[in-house]
């Protein structure tokens, strides 16, 4: 979201699902949507049925890649190199959208200069993808009528997360594949309301509605007026910063709502004691997570899906109503009620606060939600922001303003190209740690398993370290054999699974079964300073047989 917000001023995917279905080319870059975003992938399948091409960029030959017209098996962490090479080829072949670049963007000259060194040959050398294939992708993308780039954690779980996103945005700007029907730049959201969380201000640098807490004085004043309190113009901490702050002893109390950092944090060996050493840990959740087990106070909450009123916002910025169908069990309470009660005990009586009260306040403070009444959401079955005087019924896609070449007032700030520099993963491969481990999800499990471990699935396999047949042979290990997997930070034991999705030197694990295999003992905490996302996707590991000599 940081990348999109930097370039366009709004941190949301630019297209609607309908446009994805009607596009001509879909590039899934660092996204295994088939397994990780199966609902979104249904829209992709419709597009394929219509005849759209699918290009998948992923180190692994994933389930999504298996649907692709073309799969590019790049080396982990070489996304910027690939993007820059594609950009250079587009520019060298004069395939960029001249009018869009000239009238709707900034900083092109500097950008073009920065990618000039990325010849196809250099791109092949760094990414591992043959030059002629990179060329083909560049030409296909540039010449498509409607093209989508969709990405997820394969792009963002790197120490260069924001630069990776900027690198993809550059391609959209270069070809004019943004701000018009069917073309777009779309980060896919892992949950039904990740977008909503950001929209509502649950990010450290923005007020609700993506209004910058430091730079947007006008917005800050509006909030101060409404809340009757001054707001400190200072960015907060994102998750990784918080752990650093705990380490420094600056952060001693945490109120944790619906998050399970004990299971989900990179370098868990390091994170768990920090949480244990807090003065106060308050956990508000619907189930007893590993983090909740460590808490001083547990606030049992209601289920957001069917025990409370409110809204969620999906990947296409569509705000949808959630309605209460059941009373929460036992002493579990609605999140808003809990927060209001907390406020009252801290000396602020907000009265009987309802979800619609909260929503009305949001509309009064967040311009992009201004016209979005609950009545309109109900009538349209969801509304895509922005919903204001310019887009009274919401907007199917974002940034059409950029195409208003003749109307500077409407066009607003032009979108800047970003110079991004190839920067390999922090955790370098060495003779001692020669294998690149990358992590991800499987179709039938979700994150740390809190929501899925209770269900059976015919596809589910126990956690394992997936390796190529070539590596298994070199290591002398067989399918199912338990091995020791070590990184510079920790080690775990896991059975081997031989996967045809992997090539020599590439291994894969998930985070789904922390109780069986605590994968995050291996991963590196190195994070992007701008987004705070840890480099889950690139760990240097070694794999050792447990008992030497056993075939």
């Amino acid at each position: 979201m940081v990348g999109l917000a930097t370039v366009f001023g709004a941190g949301g995917g630019t297209s609607s699902y309908e446009e994805v279905e009607n596009s001509d080319l879909i590039v899934l870059w660092g996204s295994n949507a088939r397994a990780a975003h199966p609902i979104f992938f249904h829209h992709v399948l419709r597009a394929l049925e219509r005849g759209a091409k699918l290009i998948v960029v992923d180190p692994r030959r994933t389930e999504s890649a298996a649907f692709g017209d073309l799969w590019l098996g790049i080396d982990v962490g070489t996304d910027i190199a690939l993007s820059n090479t594609i950009a250079r080829e587009i520019i060298a072949s004069d395939l960029q959208d001249q009018a869009f670049v000239a009238n709707a963007t900034e900083n092109f000259e500097e950008y073009a200069e920065s990618v000039a060194e990325w010849t196809l040959e250099r791109g092949e050398e760094v990414t591992g993808v043959p030059a002629d294939v990179i060329r083909e992708v560049a030409h296909t993308y540039a010449q498509a009528d409607r093209a989508q780039i969709c990405w997820t954690l394969g792009i963002t779980e790197h120490h260069t997360a924001v630069d990776n996103v900027l690198a993809l945005i550059n391609l959209g700007l270069l070809t004019g594949h943004v701000g018009k029907y069917g073309s777009g730049l779309n980060p896919l959201r892992g949950q039904n309301n990740v977008q909503g969380g950001g929209d509502m201000g649950a990010i450290p640098n923005k007020l609700p509605g993506f209004q910058d807490i430091v730079e947007d004085h006008e917005a800050r004043a509006r909030f101060e007026q409404a809340w009757g309190r001054p707001i400190i113009p200072q960015y907060g901490w994102h998750l990784t910063d918080m752990f650093h702050a705990m380490e420094r002893g600056e952060l001693t109390a945490i109120y944790c709502i619906g998050e399970n950092p004990v299971s989900s944090e990179a370098d868990a060996t390091h994170a768990t004691p920090l949480l244990e050493n807090l003065d106060t840990l308050i956990v508000q959740d619907i189930v007893m997570t590993k983090t909740a087990e460590m808490a001083d106070v547990i606030l049992p909450a209601s289920n957001a899906a069917f025990e409370s009123e409110g809204t969620v916002t999906n990947s296409e910025r569509r705000v949808q109503r959630v309605r209460k169908a059941l009373e929460p069990p036992g002493q579990a309470k609605d999140d808003i009620w809990i927060i209001a009660q907390l406020a009252r005990r801290l000396g602020h009586d907000w009265g009987e606060l309802s979800a619609s009260d909260a929503w009305e306040e949001l509309r009064s403070l967040s311009p992009m939600h201004a016209n979005m009444s609950w009545a309109l959401i109900k009538e349209q079955g969801g509304v895509q922001w922005p919903c204001n005087d310019e887009f009274p019924n919401g907007a199917q896609f974002l940034h059409s303003r950029l195409w208003a070449f003749d109307d500077p007032a409407r066009q607003g700030r032009k979108a800047p190209f970003s110079v991004v520099v190839d920067d390999p993963p922090v955790d370098l491969l060495s003779e001692e740690y020669p294998i690149r481990l990358t992590t991800g999800r499987r179709l039938d499990s979700f994150n740390t398993g809190v929501q899925t471990a209770g269900y059976t699935s015919p596809l589910r396999r126990p956690e394992s370290v997936e390796v190529s047949a070539a590596d298994a042979e070199a290591l002398g290990v067989a399918e199912g054999e338990r091995v020791r997997v070590s990184s510079r930070r920790g080690e775990v034991e896991a059975p081997v699974h031989i996967s045809s999705a992997l090539r020599r030197g590439l291994a894969f694990m998930t985070l789904h079964f922390p109780d069986e295999v605590e994968t995050n003992r291996l991963t590196i905490e190195a994070a992007d300073p701008k987004s705070g996302t840890a480099e889950f996707k690139a760990t240097a590991i070694r794999i050792d047989k447990l008992r030497a000599g056993v075939a």
Binding site: L48, K53, R61, E63, G68, D69, G73, P130, V133
Partner: protein
Amino acid sequence: MDLHLTAATPTEEERRAVDGLLGPEPVPNDRVVRGGHETRADRTLLLPVLHALHASEGWISEGGLNYICERLTVPPAEAYGVATFYAMFSVQPQPKTMVHVCDDLACRIEGGRELVAELEADGANGDWTWTRSPCLGMCEQAPAIFVQRAGRPDVALGEATVATVRAAVAPDSMVTCAGAVTAPQAWDPAVRSGLRLLRRLGEVDPSSIDAYRAAGGYSALRRAIELGPERTIREITDAKLLGRGGAAFPTGVKWKAVAEQSVRPHFVICNADESEPGTFKDRLVMELDPFAVVEALTIAGYATGAERGYLYVRGEYPLATERLERAIAEARVHGYLGDDVMERGFGFDLELRRGAGAYICGEETALFNSIEGKRGEPRNKPPFPVTHGVFGKPTAINNVETLINVLPILELGAEEYSSVGTQDSTGSRLFCLSGHVERPGVYEHPHGVTLSDAIAAAGGVRGGKRLKAVLLGGAAGGFVGPDRLDARLTFEDARAGGYTLGSGVIMVFDEDTDLVDLVLRIARFFRDESCGQCVPCRVGTVRQEEALQRLVSGRTIGTRADELALLEDVADVMREASICGLGQTAAAAVGSAISTFGLFDGETA
């Protein structure tokens, strides 16, 4: 597509069989893999590759099927669904040689039942086995067998005895298909020369394009090219050519509709999946005059703007398949198929597809699905094939007899062509005479011939016996009694008289025939052949057979009248609510037999 396959792997033999059709397996590449639309488009090869696998091993193993799924990126459940859809495929281990013994209508009264009984008493050993089969389309040579021989060519043989079976299954068997000229009119040169559709049968070498040309072949295509597509279609329309497959749809209207579609590409298909019990005319034409079929389909392609055609031939017709394949190859060599047909600037080529034992695939939309590599289940109509046919593209589909009528229309002109027949049923018609007639075979008569004349032309009822009943139009048609012998065989008379010409079946039964046995066999046929997709047909065909069984055994539920009322009820539901013609006609013959002959009226029916 991400496939979830079982661990079973193919044998070397199986791999070779599949690779033989699909080419060698691509070398794995750990950096770039192409697939997607390119690979999914190969789904249409599923049926041919299943044939190749089955022909190699005599059955389809899990490992073999897995390998096919991998090569074509077809989900294994779907591939299994397709493999198990067809009677000619087995997914259980079975001997390499499988004899299908016809015990359907014409064969069961001509020795088929006896052959089955003999094989039951003293039949298969470990190297071969046999099974009962629905009509094999060789009724004029009853009883018929069809032998699938893995590793060797399949054969279809008539007038079969146990000795025939043993000769066909022997390890060193030299048996081949005979290709008898069972069109008695063709035996007499004087009569033959007066025929339009059968005039080359038995006279012109079916393997030689030169012989075909010398006998007037390819003059119709030349004429079509002179006329251009539009006038060609007008000629067909003016000749009032009606489809001979049973629906009697005007061919000119169909072709025009396809030609006018802006969506590309267009397809033409020859429906040669002749499976209606009692029908064998298309088989004879394909065996003895294959170039006529190829030429007629080429004209259809030219007229409708299709560059590609399919010839979908019944799986149990090995000789027709072989001769058509040869004819297609010859036509290609001589420039009658290819990028520039007859050097006249249009491209057309065609591909032969072999069915695998499914009556339902004769239904046009089921045939599309079969070509596409799906289960041969009919689609809902509309949309109709002229807009959404095979691969969802505009498609003109005609059966063999309809197509070969195009040749005399173009050779003679519409006016001369329609000088034969009646006002509304122009031209001549092929009839399949079988059962108790002196000279069974395919006959060509002008529309308007009476039923009694048609039977007389075949020598009348054999042995001077009295006629009991005639099955008109096939199992989907109906029984008529001797009182209808004066019926004129035209579309309009049939419509007015409440009978059907169907696929031209005239199956004759003498006074000693057990009609109840035939009715039961027909009920079993529809129960077996219902594809199971829509409920009225899937359930109705079973209920129909059960009620008949109860009536025959005397163990009725309630009275006989109750059972007969139930049969009528079931018939209504099937007719009104089934998706396709199979269910809609599954009760027709049964009902006509019961009502015409009062089968279950007396105590001793």
